[in-house]
Symmetry: none
Subunit: 84 residues, 2 copies
DNA sequence: GTGTATTTGTTCGTATGTATC
DNA sequence: CGATACATACGAACAAATACA
């Protein structure tokens, strides 16, 4: 279980994004696999939905995940174009 | 018709839970009787489904109601064990 | 048996308010 | 003041279970 540093200088959403990014990079979360939902993240890490969403937003901006309303967030296909 | 206080400090979902809890406590909604559906609550009280669900979640956690997917939410039997 | 409607379950999208740093 | 974080609230979409014609 990965813990978040509540008192440290690094924002929670960034710590959470780092954790998920590591899981993607290590292959623990392969392309196409759903990333834990916002609700799951709130429960697993004890953060608000806002923080969970913020973390996923970071990964989305990095092109690492793709989000579909009503379905979920998935690990992106590395072969998808984000900036040619 | 019981109105909700929109501007007050008490969250809508809590006000709604209070109303339903009172109806159960007074015997207006006896054990086994179905509680108004989420859709009905949204229409009756003019709240979102999110708020209606939140209110029912509170009552479920209190052991006052039981919910079955596809069926509905029912007033719990007081003789049901929640914490022995 | 087959479809349709109802109801709850789950998920993301968005906005507002409050508090803290 | 701005960024972070939490709570509340409304919308929207889809899935799954149940009920019924």
């Amino acid at each position: 279980v990965t813990e978040l540093d509540l008192d440290g200088p690094i924002p929670l959403y960034r710590q959470l994004a780092d954790i998920l990014r590591a899981r993607i990079g290590s292959g623990e979360l392969p392309a196409g696999r759903p990333v834990p939902s916002e609700l799951t993240l709130t429960q697993t890490f004890g953060v608000s939905r806002d923080t969970a969403r913020h973390a996923l937003l970071v990964l989305r901006e990095e092109g690492l995940v793709i989000t579909v309303q009503g379905k979920g967030t998935y690990v992106a296909d590395p072969g998808a174009e984000t900036s040619p």
